[in-house]
Amino acid sequence: MDFFKKIKKHTKISFLNYGIVIAFYFIIQVVAMSGHLTNSLKGQLIPIVSYVIMALALNLVVGISGELSLGHAGFMSVGAFSGVVVSMSLAQTIPSTGLRLLCAILVGALLAGIAGVIIGIPVLRLNGDYLAIVTLAFGEIIKNVLNCLYVGMDGAGIHMSFKDTASLNLAADGKILINGPMGATGVTKLSTFMAGTILLIVVLVIIQNLVNSRTGLAIMAIRDNRIAAEASGVPVTKHKLIAFVTSAAIAGAAGALYALNYSTIAPKKFDFNTSILVLVFVVLGGIGNMTGSIIAAALLTILPELLRKFADYRMLIYAIVLIIVMITTNNEKVRAFINGLKKKPKQEEAKNE
């Protein structure tokens, strides 16, 4: 009996999150059908979904694993540019755009995950805040590498160079896919709001089920007390790696989704500011709180667009909203009030002991 009650409590929060995402999807559909969806908001739908996924991914590292990553935009860009190359080079082989998008997302996730392994293995063996420094460097390095990366494609296959477009030696029918600092140009837009929503649901399933399993428990135990976790027989590096690499791979998937929403995408889009922006979503939404990440990322991505009308007061309103979000998500009293029904019984129970 008690067992099912317990499982239900976890599941309740998970299903709340699925509900929010699905509700958002249908509200947008209804608004679109009634003809009230502005073009600017329509253009923001995929970025919103991408940033929500980014925030969820980063929350897995920051909130669940208790490590700090300052370079998550780096993983996003790995996913973005590998996704673009995959989608462009498969244009002939796979005519279905949905399938091509899926391939792009999977390859983007895979490569970003590999980047996560390469960074994670040496760094996560150390105890201390080294991950923040190394991911910060990674974000900058990846941006600079992509700034001088040239990729082209012709009948003979994919050509790559770190010099310029001329040294790609493309045949006459060749096409430049990635053009250094200009980034990817002439990209076929494959991302759709529906595909993004499906990806978001899949990401939620992965993260929430991972967190609510033996593996997630071990990750949180290491966060709370590394020495006690080791003494209880929980391998530390392995679990920190699981959280970090899963997060990196998801960020890669978000990157591919994001990039395939634009016809051009430049490496400088994924700079330090983007990493910090995502961190802001996570902190404002509440560290370790997935629902908060979803809402904070969505609101703060839409907000600048919605405020365009108010031109002069835009940043002022943005700042006020930031402060309100901060107070409501991180203030014990307000939070207890907001989810009164959900949390109160638990707190009272604790006090009675």
Binding site: L210, D224, A231, G233, V234, E353
Partner: protein, 263 residues
């Protein structure tokens, strides 16, 4: 008596560690029988906690060997030592504060819950089966200390004594052969201490494991330990039954007597 004939669950020889110029532990030789309750006592700063840290590999020994069930633990990490059969509690309580009481125990069970990451993500049958088993096992262990009702309470909201008890349950969940308790009665009132004594004996009898405990409460030590090791300045100064220790002039001078004068 029959215990003496079996191989000891733990045997150390010439165990020692230096911190810079300070020799914190030196020539530490003990042997613990498979179901023995052994006391480790000594004045503050004698090196008792350091000995636990050596046995569990929180510190790498500077010299000497540790045999656990006859196996040398030289190359083992703290995690491997736990898997090999040593579990412990900490003098400064180390719980997983943000997890519930039950989840803390499940971390102890981590190595004994048999499903992988993918079964967890995709909620395969093994997830449900093993989670159910882990839940039942955790409640059974919590029940030793009558804590099953507090299973869903956050660990850091427990009162001090209950936190100490939860640490013991978590350690027990790893299914050790040797349980190390670092001042388990610290901060407990006399009736709590009395109950703890009975529970430590009960654990030993039920799980057939060895227990080594550090404790300043002499009633507890003399009440349940079959053998006592006294350390001072990192070295063993006496060893024997509670009666022998109580009458040992060196111990009285270094520790028991010294404490009386303080009082």
């Amino acid at each position: 008596m029959s215990d003496k004939a079996q191989t000891p669950v733990l045997q150390t020889s010439h165990l020692g560690i230096d911190f810079g110029g300070l020799t914190a532990v030196d020539e530490f030789n003990i042997s613990i029988a498979p179901t023995e309750i052994k006391g480790l006592i000594g004045p503050n700063g004698a090196g008792k906690t350091t000995i636990f840290n050596l046995l569990t590999k929180v510190y790498q020994p500077s010299r000497g060997t540790i045999l656990l069930d006859g196996k040398d633990t030289r190359s083992m990490s703290p995690v491997q030592v736990n898997h090999a059969g040593i579990a412990r509690t900490f003098q400064n309580i180390r719980l997983f504060d943000q997890l519930t009481v039950e989840e803390n125990v499940k971390i102890g069970l981590h190595d004994h819950i048999k499903y992988g990451m993918f079964s967890g993500i995709f909620r395969l049958p093994s997830f449900w089966k093993e989670e159910k088993r882990a839940h039942e096992e955790a409640l059974k262990l919590l029940d030793i200390f009558g804590m099953a009702d507090e299973a869903n309470v956050r660990a850091d909201s427990l009162p001090y004594g209950a936190q100490r008890r939860l640490e013991i349950v978590r350690a027990l969940a790893t299914q050790p052969k040797l349980l190390l308790l670092d001042e388990p009665a610290a901060g407990m009132n006399p009736s709590e201490t009395e109950e703890l004594m009975n529970n430590i004996k009960k654990i030993r009898d039920e799980f057939k494991i060895a227990v080594m405990l550090i404790e300043h409460d002499m009633n507890l030590v003399m009440g349940i330990c079959e053998n006592i090791v006294v350390v001072n300045f990192g070295k063993i100064i006496a060893e024997g039954t509670p009666t022998q220790i109580q009458n040992d002039p060196q111990v009285i001078e270094a520790y028991l007597g010294g404490r009386k004068e303080e009082d």
